[in-house]
Subunit: 302 residues, 2 copies
DNA sequence: GCCTCCGTGAAAGTAAGTTTCATCCGTGGT
DNA sequence: ACCACGGATGAAACTTACTTTCACGGAGGC
């Protein structure tokens, strides 16, 4: 097994449910059944005894224990307590079941809007909650001191990568984004100690992203992964792992929902880097803002 | 307000601690010692085992059980989870005033994260709140029936435009995104009745976007503007105006903060369009998902 | 095709929670 | 002063819940 000694985990104060959802794909089938029950109704799970829960999940107590360990708990009682706490904390908004769940076939636009806004906002909040400031700090430091920063992401994650690149560029950091794998690999091969490579992949299984980070790492660069799944392949090739917390719904794959969460993380890193040198960053932002002024329509507010 | 459908014994759902304090005088000395420990630090008590708590209260397990019964619990495990829930609830939510404002010079990463998450989440929520479902409905209808959809946006809004394009494309709608103004103008000139042009601009003053919509409108296409400012120039050339609700902060221009809000609107429109033809959209999503499968790392779940 | 490794549940083992019961102590009656 | 009584209490027996061990079976690699 890969050493989980990685500088991510264990900031777990809140967001247990989110944490579990993220881990879900990396769990074994039997454990997944347990996880689903727990995520579906944490309060109910907290009430159950281990035997009870095992039966409900159609598995053995042993598996439930394994599940507890998989999500970082000491044992079942601890999980129970944490679940109870978690369930209590979430002050259920009026009709959370309607708002939080999936979109029913006959839904009108107003419902759809409410549902999406709710899940988008939750994804942002929950992502922030489970983000480990210590890891962020280290990533910010790496970026701040980097000679060069390569950012890679495909499809939906590509926008995020591109966005990040643009942001860093605007405050004067040398950052690149490569939409093409081959170009990215070529670039990664030229990285070295002190450089930073950032791979963005919702699932964490995008072959391209993994390869790019692998290459970068082999060259001695610091590698950072941004993914929704803390145990996915991309984390094996990353020095630092940052995770998002987005859930799937029928109409929006997790990948779609996770853009928002990923952007939030990007924002945090960006502001973190900018805050390291307020004066310089501010100046850079002003200069770039001026540069686009001529492209604005005048005589009317902006 | 939704009535609490639950009829069960949990009439004491809140205020367990208060309840215990009230009963305190009526308890036997040994039970009082237990009660005092519990009231003093419910979270800590929840963490302890019955033997542990008994020892701490200098009494026996039997007394702890009696105490549980005295305060109306079935047994110790039930008390434990109730205590955990209670303790979690009384954790002060982060101070909105501190969190909502700007980022102070000496802020650490944790503060930065909290601030950003808060404002990002707010932007999403507020955007959804002020979004007019009727307008959305019309836009969804226009997109659903469009022969062709042109989407335009620059810089940060470009990512959003591109994201939207990709989404629509994935469910089988003919959509284009043009990073280049000239190409966009050329394309707009070829639009006609029944086609749709969507311009995305945070400030609503981006000259390029305005020109593109203007051109499209002149050719008879339906024009849609997505901006943060309802009375900005771009709205003059749009048949339908959708607005976001993002605020500026020192370190993040409104344009940066508004990406999230814009994406939320995109999500809503997308789901709206997809919902119009669930079967077809679902099929299209599945097909495109399959197409990228070979680019995934195998042998590991994710 | 064989081997190895992983997931799994049955069953054994341990710890936690619960009940029982004998003791203690104070009270009030004789 | 003594005894009878009853409530409070903890030791220990007991039960249930939790944890560990282990052997089986099946999937993937060589």
């Amino acid at each position: 097994m890969v050493k989980t000694a990685k500088v991510s985990a264990s900031h777990e104060t809140g967001g247990l449910i989110v944490h579990i959802s993220g881990l879900l794909p990396s769990l074994s089938p039997a454990e997944q059944r347990v996880a689903r029950l727990v995520v579906a109704d944490p309060a109910d799970a907290a009430r159950r005894t281990i035997t009870d829960l095992a039966t409900a999940a159609e598995t053995s107590e042993a598996t439930v224990i394994r599940f507890c360990r998989s999500v970082g708990m000491d044992g079942y009682p601890q999980l129970r307590i944490r679940l109870a706490a978690e369930a209590a904390r979430r002050v259920e908004p009026p009709d959370a079941r309607v708002v939080g769940g999936d979109i029913p076939p006959g839904a009108d636009l107003a419902q759809i809007i409410a549902t999406i806004a709710f899940s988008d906002a939750r994804a942002v909040e929950e992502t922030a909650e489970q983000l480990d400031p210590a890891v962020c700090e280290q990533v910010v430091e790496a970026i701040s001191g980097a000679g060069r920063i390569d950012i890679y992401g495909a499809a939906a994650s590509g926008f995020v990568a591109s966005d990040f690149q643009q942001k860093l560029h605007r405050i004067g950091r040398t950052a690149f984004y490569f939409p093409d794998v081959h170009v990215a690999l070529t670039s990664a091969a030229l990285l070295g100690k002190g450089d930073v490579a950032i791979g963005i992949s919702h699932t964490g299984t995008t072959l391209d992203a993994v390869e790019v980070l692998e290459q970068a790492r082999a060259r001695g660069a610091t590698t950072v992964a941004l993914t929704n799944f803390p145990r996915s392949p991309i984390t094996d090739v990353a020095d630092f792992v940052l995770t998002t917390a987005a859930r799937e719904t029928t109409y929006r794959s997790g990948a779609m929902a996770s853009r928002l969460a990923q952007l939030t993380v990007v924002d945090c890193l960006f502001v973190g880097v900018a805050a390291r040198n307020r004066a310089r960053a501010k100046k850079a932002l002003e200069v770039t803002a001026e540069a686009v002024q001529s492209h604005r329509v005048r005589g009317r507010r902006a």
